[in-house]
Amino acid sequence: ELKVEQNPLFLSMQEGKNYTIYCNYSTTSDRLYWYRQDPGKSLESLFVLLSNGAVKQEGRLMASLDTKARLSTLHITAAVHDLSATYFCAVDNGMDSNYQLIWGAGTKLIIKP
């Protein structure tokens, strides 16, 4: 059974600092997704990582995937207040999964001015 673990689950940081959120998963998968959720809102796709070594960047966020280690990271560079949100990783549940995703519990990120 595929399990997805994120850490930390809660992160409070100052503007301007760098930090990394980790997403570990328990069985082989080549497809991993990062989403953002603002309080009381829906989920917005950030990154789609489809192969080992994939790296995607958008603004101050960079995501990477190491399928051998079963690990993805979401790195925040020089954080700004607007990046405060909950970040979820989700992993495809296998070749015949019909794109079913197993979700991490989320990392609530608070960035203080």
Binding site: Y33, K41, V48, D92, Y99, W103, A105
Partner: protein, 110 residues
Amino acid sequence: NAGVTQTPKFRILKIGQSMTLQCTQDMNHNYMYWYRQDPGMGLKLIYYSVGAGITDKGEVPNGYNVSRSTTEDFPLRLELAAPSQTSVYFCASSLAGKQFFGPGTRLTVL
């Protein structure tokens, strides 16, 4: 394009009542999903569909039912509502794995 739309936005049900949560997408996606999100948690898959007429159970299907008569619509039916079904429900459609979410329905069962 409106994307994925859901109605209603909010609903309060009494224990034992039934209701249907509506979901419509205008992107012609074959894959659609229903999730529930409990406070402070990730998403749990309730049901999914790979095309009109084809549905299957996810992780937490008990107490729910779905149908998919058209590509656009994927309603979720709650029968005999229970307090444990208090949650936020999200509908999503998918293109090659990337999922697009509706705004959600916040349901309270009292």
